[in-house]
Amino acid sequence: MRLWTLIRKELFERPVPMLTCLVAIVLGVTALVAIRTVTYFSELAVAREMDALGANVLILPKGVTVQDYYAADLHGEKLPEEYVQRVALSKLQGVDNLSPKLCVPTTLNGRPVTLTGILPKSEFQAKVAWGGAGIFSHPIGCGTQAGLPTTPPDPKTLARKRVIETLGPREALVGSDVAQQHAIAQGDSIELLGDRFTVLAILPATGTIDDSRIFAHLHAVQELSGQGEVVNVIEIVGCCKQIAAGLVNGLNQLLPEARIITITQVVQTQQNVNRLMERLSLVFLAVLLAVGGAAMFSTLYGNVSERKKEIGTLMALGATPTLVLGLIVGKALVLGTAGGILGFALGSVSAWWLGPLLANVAVQPLPWLGALALGLAVTVTFLASLIPAWRAARLDPCVCFKEV
C-alpha cells in the first residue's frame, strides 16, 4: 500500500465525477494548446517572411489587395510594363532588383498550370546605370551582383532571390511541384501556349505557391497569350528596410496610378489574426481556470463529504491531517497531470490539422507549450483542491463512529 495506490484506487472507484472535471480541464487545455501552437507557427512564418521579404515592395494595380505575398500576381488585374522602366530610370534608391511578373493560366500535358512571365534583370538593369553620378551613392549590399562574365548566374537562384538575371526567350524554369507532377527534368522540351520551351532548370522547393509555377520570359508570355505589354505585379526585392521605407513614398509619387504596398501591409492581416488568436487563447485560459477549476473544486468538495466516514476511519487508524491533505491534493494533481498531458496531445493534433487550414502553416508540437499546459492544468487543479483538502484534514474523526 502506498499513497499513490490509495489515490488511484479511489479514483477508479468513483470515476464519473472525476471524468467530468477531467473533460473540462482537457477541453480547456486543448483549446489553449491548439490556438497557441497555430499562433506560434503563424508568427514564425510572418517573421520569416518579414525577414526574407521585409524590405520588399510590391507595385500593384489600384484596388488590388494581397493576402499571400507569394501569390501577389494572381489577382488578374494589369499594369503597363512601361512602369518597370519608369521605376528603373527614376533614380530612387533600392530599385535595382525589380521583378515584373505576368501570370497566365495555361495547361501542360492537359493539366492546368500557372505560367508566370518574368522579366530578367538584364533587360532593364542597364537603365539603372543611366542615373548619372548619383548611382554611385547606392548603399553597399544592394544589388551589387556584378553579372561579370566570370560569374554566370545560376537560374535556380530565382527561388531564393525572387529575381532572375537572364532568361532566353524560349527558356523556362519549372517549380519543384510541377516538375514532379509532370516528370520534367532539366533540358526537357515542354509545350506552353502552343510553343516549345526548353527547361533551363528545375527550381528548388520553397514551400510557397512558386513551387507550382512555370516561369518563362515575360515578353514571350505576353506575345503568346496576346495580353499585350502588361504585367500583374512589379516586385521590388529590397535589401534594406530603411531604404524600402523611403522607396514607398518615392514610388507613390512616381506611379500615382498604382498601388504600392510593403510586406508589412501584406502580412498585416495575418498579424491581426495572430493577435486575435492570442487574445482568444487568453480567453480560453480564463475559461480553463474558471470552468475547470470550479468543476474540480465542486467535485472534490463533494468527494470529501462523501468520504467523511472513510477519512475519519483513516484518522482513527493513525492518518495525520497532512496525509489526509495529501490524499485530496494528490488526487487533484493526478487529474491535473492527466488533463494537461491529454489536453496537450489533443491540442497538438488539432493544431496540426488546423494550422494549414487557418494560417497556411505547418505546425509541430511545442514541448515548451506542453510544459506550460501541464503546469497550468496542475496549478488549476491544485488550487481548486486546497479548500476541500483543508476541510478534509480538519474533519472530526468522530464521524467514523457515526452509524450509516
Binding site: 525577414d51 526574407a52 521585409g54 524590405a55 510594363e81 512601361e82 512602369y83 518597370v84 522602366q85 519608369r86 530610370l89 535595382d96 532588383n97 533587360e123 532593364f124 538593369q125 542597364a126 537603365k127 539603372v128 546605370a129 543611366w130 542615373g131 548619372g132 553620378a133 548619383g134 548611382i135 554611385f136 551613392s137 547606392h138 548603399p139 553597399i140 549590399g141 544592394c142 544589388g143 551589387t144 551582383q145 556584378a146 553579372g147 561579370l148 562574365p149 566570370t150 560569374t151 537562384t157 531564393r160 532571390k161 525572387r162 529575381v163 538575371e165 505589354e229 526585392v237 529590397g238 535589401c239 534594406c240 528596410k241 530603411q242 531604404i243
Partner: protein
C-alpha cells in the same frame, strides 16, 4: 578576238571592279547614329529625344531642350528619334527602348555612356545634371558595359596607377571584364564625382576605387594595393551575404563604408 586582248580585257575589268569596291560608299547610318557620331567627334553631349507621338509631352521636352541647349551650343546638341522609324531599330534595340515610357530624353556623353534617362518629363536641372565629368562618364561607360571599373585617383606628381592595379588589369583573366579609369585628384572638374565617392581630393596617395554594375563601390584602397587584394575584394563582393541585393534588414551601409 585575239587571246592577248581578251586577257587584257579581263584584267582591266577585274581592276575596275576592285577599285569600285574600294571606293564603294559604306552602309548608311541612321540619323540618330549619325548624330551620335558627330557629337562624339566634337566632344559634345548629345540629348536624344525618343518619342512615339508628337504630342504635348514631346513638344514640352523638345522645348525644354531647345531652351537649355541654346545657352551652351558648344557643349551639347540634340536630336530626335521616332521610336517606330525602321532606320532607328538598331538604336532602339541597343538601348532596349521598346517598352520604355515615352517620350524619353537620353543624355549621351561624348564617350557613348548614357549619363541620364528622363522619361515623360524634363527640366533644365535634369539637363545640367546629366552633363557629368569625364571621369564620371568613363566610369559609367564601363559600368554600362557590365565591367568592373577600377577608378584610380592620382594626386599630383603621381604618374601612374599602383602596380597592383596595372597587374590586375593586365591579367588575361581580368582584362576583358575590367575598365581602368584614371582621374587626377586635383582636377576641379572631378570634384563633385570624387565627393560622391567619398574620396578626398587632397589625398597625397593614389586612391583606387572598385566599382561594380549597376553602380556600387565595393571597395577603395589608399596607397599601394596588390593584385591579390583587389581580387579578394571582388570575390567577397560577389559572394557576400547579399548577392543580388536580397539581404536581411541590417545589410545596408552608407557609401564608402564596408
Amino acid at each position: 578576238m585575239r587571246p592577248s586582248r581578251l586577257i587584257l580585257g579581263i584584267v582591266g575589268l577585274w581592276g575596275w571592279l576592285s577599285l569600285a569596291t574600294m571606293h564603294a560608299e559604306p552602309p548608311s547610318v541612321s540619323p540618330g547614329q549619325a548624330a551620335l557620331d558627330a557629337a562624339a567627334r566634337q566632344g559634345q553631349y548629345l540629348f536624344v529625344l525618343v518619342y512615339k507621338q508628337d504630342d504635348a509631352a514631346t513638344q514640352a521636352m523638345k522645348s525644354t531642350l531647345d531652351q537649355a541647349l541654346a545657352k551652351m551650343p558648344s557643349r551639347a546638341s540634340m536630336t530626335s528619334v521616332w521610336a517606330n522609324d525602321p532606320a532607328e531599330k538598331g538604336l532602339m534595340d541597343r538601348w532596349g527602348l521598346s517598352r520604355t515610357p515615352m517620350p524619353i530624353v537620353l543624355a549621351v556623353a561624348p564617350n557613348g555612356a548614357i549619363t541620364g534617362g528622363f522619361p515623360l518629363k524634363l527640366t533644365e536641372q535634369d539637363i545640367h545634371s546629366a552633363m557629368v565629368s569625364p571621369g564620371t562618364a568613363a566610369c559609367l561607360k564601363g559600368i554600362q558595359a557590365r565591367k568592373l571599373v577600377l577608378l584610380c585617383v592620382l594626386p599630383p606628381r603621381v604618374g601612374q596607377p599602383p602596380a597592383g592595379v596595372r597587374e590586375f588589369q593586365a591579367d588575361p583573366a581580368n582584362k576583358a571584364m575590367t575598365e581602368l579609369v584614371i582621374v587626377r585628384a586635383d582636377d576641379s572638374a572631378e570634384a563633385g564625382f570624387l565627393q560622391t565617392l567619398g574620396i578626398n581630393q587632397s589625398t597625397t596617395q593614389p586612391v583606387t576605387a572598385m566599382l561594380l554594375p549597376p553602380g556600387s563601390m565595393i571597395g577603395s584602397f589608399t596607397g599601394e594595393v596588390t593584385k591579390a587584394q583587389l581580387a579578394e575584394r571582388l570575390k567577397v563582393a560577389q559572394s557576400g551575404c547579399c548577392p543580388g541585393g536580397n539581404c536581411g534588414p541590417n545589410s545596408c551601409c552608407p557609401p564608402g563604408r564596408k
